[in-house]
Amino acid sequence: MAAKTLTINGRQISAAEGSTVLKAAEEAGVEIPSLCHLDGVYDVGACRLCLVEVKGASRLLPACTTVISEGMEVQTGTERLIKYRRMTLELLFAERNHVCSVCVADGHCELQTLAYSLGMDHVRFDYLFPKWDVDNTHSLFGMDHNRCILCTRCVRVCWHIEGAGTKNVSGRGGQSKIITDLNAAWGKSDSCTSCGKCVQSCPTGALFYKGSTVGEMVRDRSKLEFIVNAREKKLWVYQD
């Protein structure tokens, strides 16, 4: 595969043809924040945190779905982008009930980590304090909608890696909700294989192993990566 040369933040780098800006930046050691991207599943460009400035483009482009081209000039951390990212996080914190101090994912949460790293120390918008329930009907896992940021990682791993098609989105706008089957209780789902990939993929404490308490919910992303790449790398084949 041919390589392409491009400039990220003024630095010339090269990356394989067909890579996304996000991937090329990652390889070059430039970190672009994101919440909906997950290695191994297709990208949806929904969280808008990975937006970058590309010279010649009239709009900001999501790094996760923008494919690199020769001579592309990308800026990943301008003042404007950082301001928008902070505001995006503020909107998320105000939208549902994110209370880090009592969350299972405290200390292992991507939303929390991003808020720290981007210096989002205040939320200037009204907290909405919506009333969302917790689905604890599954024997192994729980889903706390109060902590959900609707990144749809769980939906995508469920459909495209596990192939179960249990998780989905219902409603629209701020009323959107991750559901199991046709909005049945998770424990009553016929299609769920209890594989736990959704739990591994969740960036916040919305999906968790039952029994984990504050700060205990640690994810093992390498498991997901193993499953996604195992067939290609022939890791399923028994070798002696």
Binding site: R48, L60, T65, H122, V123, F125, N168, R172
Partner: protein, 549 residues
């Protein structure tokens, strides 16, 4: 079907015409004020008076002056004789008495008034004249001859180049050059290609596309067929919202008739060209008017947009090259084919060609449907054609483009209506909704209303639109209730800019427009509602800041 048969059908239909035609509007507006009853009363009266050989009662599409419906137009020997308004099933029979020289008990309006005289009909040329439920009626006015001409006298590339030369721009709102879009789809490689007609008209107050579909459905089918021939597609879809039951029924009827007459299906007009059209009915989501969301919905998925590129022209429905145009865009195709690109390009302004249909609504005397050449000033539309504000009111602003557009203040009424002039004023052409506001309208309320609309219609996929519209609505609500300070207004403006720049699709990117445009022209109205920022004013400042948890 061959050309000879088409001409035969046309001639037979013209010969069967009677001396006098009573045209009764059967589009949704008049139907809702009982034009069906009027139609039946007229038929009964004709039968009873024994004038059956001389008088035809014809159900037709929209006659435009919707505020005065039900409308009945009397035509004698091919010329319009009189237009009767607010006809009821009780006084309908008196129109016959009027024909015999007696007195009609109905109200008549002057068909020469500016509302009608300043219109120019291309898209609506058959609207109110032909019977939308009979294909013969469309054929009688030259229908489907453009399709025959395209199939037999032009190559697909020639059709595309004709569209490029015509200068037609997309009538869905954004104004993308139609010819360029067709060219891209035609040149995109694909084993299958699709043509989609976007009839998911959702802007509050807009009903142009509905009227076209209800009044002249075959025009849209013909336009789609010509487009399919030009780009190499063999399957088309019309995505129409479920809220338009009459339009759906007329489309279904039209498709059925076209198939019967061999104008849809295999080997159309004895050529190699095959094309079918299916209807997909929307389920009430405004965002499905956005092309990528619309295609997801056609595919049977949740109607949410996806990032572009890839554009539908390269990778659309099921990943195949897809041409997607609005109803009014397709409605312009057959006339361009019949009269030539140069004719079309001679109408309008330098960069906006042809005519535009607007749904004129709001605080204005004459509401209804108008079609005017591009470049007509807003003043002509609002004051001459619309008749100005109702008694006692003064026009304050004109809103175009619905929840994605902006408010144009009365000082700018001399602006010509074209894509570029409107966008310079922070509004957009939009699909054609035009809402007139008088001095009794609060601009903050308008901004709040449209923001509430966008908030309810956000699909929830991307964060800026999903959560941003909620917060912008709260801020607007706070301002409207008189509980905001200058800090809230500053936050609103900051958020507007952020949502505009970062949202995934057009819905979010344009949701701040009504707010930004009212702020641009009517900032004083916002500021008059603000409270002073001072210690002790905590009620106002509540929610301004909160420590992160």
């Amino acid at each position: 079907m061959i050309l000879g048969e088409l001409n035969q059908l046309r001639d037979r239909e013209i010969q069967s015409r009677k001396k006098i035609t009573l045209r009764c509007c059967m589009a949704a507006g008049c139907v809702s004020s009982n034009s069906k009853g009027v139609f039946e009363a007229l038929q009964k009266a004709v039968a009873e008076s024994g004038l059956g050989n001389e008088v035809e009662v014809r159900g037709v599409g929209c006659m435009r002056l919707c505020c005065e419906g039900p409308l009945v137009s009397v035509n004698q020997d091919g010329a319009e004789d009189s237009l009767h308004v607010r006809v009821t099933s009780e006084n309908a029979a008196s129109i016959l008495a009027y024909l015999k020289g007696g007195k009609a008990r109905t109200t008549r309006v002057d068909a020469g008034m500016p509302f009608f005289k300043k219109q120019m009909s291309i898209v609506l040329s058959n609207s109110g004249i032909i019977d939308p439920e009979r294909i013969e009626s469309y054929i009688a006015v030259g229908g489907y001859s453009a399709l025959h001409e395209a199939l037999h006298e032009m190559t697909p590339a020639e059709v595309v180049s004709m569209m490029v030369q015509s200068g037609l721009r997309g009538r869905g709102g954004a104004g993308f050059p139609t010819g360029l879009k067709w060219d891209t789809v035609a040149k995109s490689p694909g084993v299958a290609k699709y043509v989609i007609c976007n009839a998911d008209e959702g802007d509050p107050g807009a009903f142009m596309d509905r009227s076209v579909l209800e009044s002249d459905p075959h025009r849209v089918l013909e336009g789609m067929s010509i487009a399919a021939y030009a780009v190499g597609a063999s399957q088309g879809f019309i995505y129409v919202r479920a809220e338009y039951p009459l339009a759906i029924a007329r489309l279904q009827q039209a498709i059925k008739q076209s198939k019967q007459f061999g104008l849809l299906g295999a080997g159309i007009f004895d050529s190699q060209f095959c094309f079918n059209i299916d209807i997909r009915i929307g389920a009430g989501a405004f965002v499905c008017g956005e092309e990528t969301a619309l295609m997801a919905s056609v595919e049977g998925k949740r109607g949410t947009p996806r990032p572009r590129p890839p554009f539908p022209a390269e990778s659309g429905l099921w990943g195949y090259p897809t041409l997607i145009n609005n109803v009014e865009t397709f409605a312009n195709v057959a006339p361009i084919c019949r009269h030539g690109a140069a004719w079309f390009a001679s109408i309008g302004t330098a960069r906006s060609k042809g005519t535009k249909v607007f749904a004129l609504a709001g605080k204005i005397k004459n509401t209804g449907l108008i079609e005017v050449p591009m470049g007509t000033t807003l003043r002509t539309i609002v004051e001459d054609m619309g008749g100005g504000a109702p008694e006692g009111g003064r026009i304050k602003a004109v809103q175009t483009g619905g929840p994605s557009g902006g408010c144009i203040p009365v000082e700018h009424l001399d602006t010509p209506v074209d894509y570029d002039s409107l966008s310079q004023l922070g509004s957009i052409m939009g699909s054609g909704g035009m809402i007139v506001m008088d001095d009794g309208t609060s601009m903050v309320e308008i901004a709040r209303y449209f923001m509430e609309f966008c908030m309810d219609e956000s699909c929830g996929k991307c964060i800026p639109c999903r959560a941003g519209t909620v917060q912008m609505h709260r801020l607007l609500d706070r301002i409207a209730r008189g509980q905001a300070t200058a800090a809230h207004l500053a936050r609103l403006e900051e958020l507007c800019e952020m949502v505009k720049s970062t949202s995934l699709c057009g819905l979010g990117q344009t949701a701040p427009n009504p707010t930004l445009s009212t702020l641009r022209f009517f900032r004083g109205e916002y500021e008059a509602l603000l409270q002073p920022e001072m210690p002790g004013n905590e009620e106002c400042l509540a929610g301004v800041s909160g420590q992160v948890s």
